[in-house]
């Protein structure tokens, strides 16, 4: 029984791990180095990757500033419609992202309420960086908010209490005690959100086909020119993501 359990654990673990790893390895090894270099010298590809990483980063920064306070509020207060608020935050995770894109289009499009309002200050969303930004923010914010909320829930309220008796007001208590204690979950959430934003296709493609983000470009090349043209972009995209996220994880662990 003991040995059977061990055996099954290993077999199942290996199965799911290979399922996740093989496609990535396969696509990275399926293209030649010269192909990759020529793809890298294609300005269109490079620009789309930079655009994707950059806009998703801005989306993450905006949600760090707005979603972290929301997460803190939700972790510390109970109110009548809290479940509804939490449900609304989770909606983007559950609906098809194309549907999310269409919902965003109705609000931020040329005739949408916020679209009209923002147009007055010169901000338009259809086929712009701002469109990409709201699409990425909408679909990936829950990852950051929920992770930060879990982080804050783990912080003992009594630590905050003691900090206050020692003279710290709520703001300083949050900065000096609560945030450092929840830091790991917040950074993990931000990484998840950034990564989700970079990979987002459905919502982005509805609101902004151009300028092309990497996922849209992969789709565009696959549709217009076939598999062999889509692979180099995909490989560069995957490698970029792996490098960025490994680097941040390592840095985060250094400062534990």
């Amino acid at each position: 029984m003991e040995r059977l359990f061990k055996f099954l654990t290993i077999i199942f673990s290996l199965g799911i791990f290979l399922f996740l790893a093989i496609p990535v390895v396969k696509i990275i090894t399926s293209t030649s180095v010269s192909n990759l270099i020529s793809a890298l010298s294609d300005r269109a590809i490079l620009n789309s990757i930079i655009l994707t990483v950059e806009v998703s980063f801005y989306a993450t920064v905006i949600v760090l500033a707005t979603g972290v306070p929301l997460a803190y509020f939700l972790s510390r207060h109970n109110f009548c419609c809290k479940a509804i608020v939490e449900g609304i935050i989770d909606i983007p995770v559950m609906v098809p992202h194309v549907a999310a894109g269409i919902a965003l289009l109705m609000v931020f499009g040329a005739s949408g309420e916020l679209g009209v309002a923002f147009k007055k200050i010169g901000v338009e969303f259809l086929d712009t960086k701002f469109g990409i930004l709201v699409a990425m923010m909408f679909v990936s914010a829950p990852f950051l908010i929920n992770s930060a909320k879990e982080g804050f829930k783990k912080v003992d309220v009594r630590l905050e209490n003691v900090s206050k008796t020692l003279g710290a007001n709520s703001f300083w208590t949050f900065v000096k005690i609560t945030l450092p204690y929840a830091r790991k979950e917040i950074i993990n959430g931000a990484l998840m959100m950034w990564g989700r934003g970079i990979g987002e296709f459905g919502a982005v493609v509805i609101i902004a086909y151009h300028p092309m983000t990497a996922p849209v470009m992969i789709y565009d090349r696959f549709n217009s020119f076939g598999l062999s043209y889509a692979v180099p972009v995909t490989v560069i995209m995957i490698i970029t993501s792996i490098v960025i996220f490994s680097a941040i994880r390592i840095i985060n662990n250094l400062f534990k």
Partner: protein
Amino acid sequence: MSFVEIKSLTTKVGVFELKNLNINIEKGEFLSVIGRSGSGKTVLLESIAGFHKTEGEIWLDGTDIAKLPPQKRAIGMVYQDYMLFENMNVKKNILYSLFFHKNENSKRMFDEVVSFLGISNILQRSVKNLSGGEKQKVAVARALLSNPKLLLLDEPLNAVDLTFKLSFMEFLKDLHKRYELTVLYVTHNFKEAMFFSDRGIVLLEGKIHQDSPMCELFEHPNSKKVAEFLGFKNILPSKLIDLKQHKFFSVKPQDIAISDKVPNKEFTFKVELDNVFKIQNHYRIKVLLNNCIVSINSAKTDFLESKNLYIGFDKKDIQEFD
């Protein structure tokens, strides 16, 4: 007016309620609040410190602080599980309050407190790997550096190793004298309360049941509930002995005589044996008296075989309450 005057303090936390508490503390007093876990001791401290919404007044050194935020109350709080900030080392924990209000004495105060607590060798260490006693000292030092007018201690001895408990108790007592602190100490352990305080308050189910000098608390508990909480044995209805002034009385197991003949005592009863067990050098005999169990300490058990069993005690050995 007392240094601390708490008037009609009421706090609701979930379903639990502290009801209409009135407490006075003199400057420099070490007052103990004794109660079981769940009786509201911690909620009381947290209410005074300002962590809960309360009704009533809390006067500290001439100011009503009941509506002030915790950081403006000049109250220090030490929780039983320390609540040290793990993102800082020992020294930074202790100096935390100085970031918010520095005074010119703070450096001297720091050196003085650190040397008094004997923790100068651990200042650079992480707070995660300290012993329970060390952690509690750091928590106390941190609270002291903020110069509180009132120090609240929430069962600080609970997490200290048994071997160091007594020395930590001595240490707290010295600390109280040395810094002329006004302390409100809560505990479930009345021996600790006896050690520290001249006056004690019994808090049960969110209400103050008795507030009196420590010796009086043990001589004259004012109710059956307090007597039970303080560990009084043989709490019996007064009608058994025809004393009508109070509802109940108690008599210690060692003050009851037991024999197969009627003992030469003021009150005597015929009883039935319930059970017997040995405790160290004597026997604890339990007998049934009108459906009440009475415990008696006895050196001998040879008379238990007799069919007739009697107990007796004198009036001077009983304590009465309602």
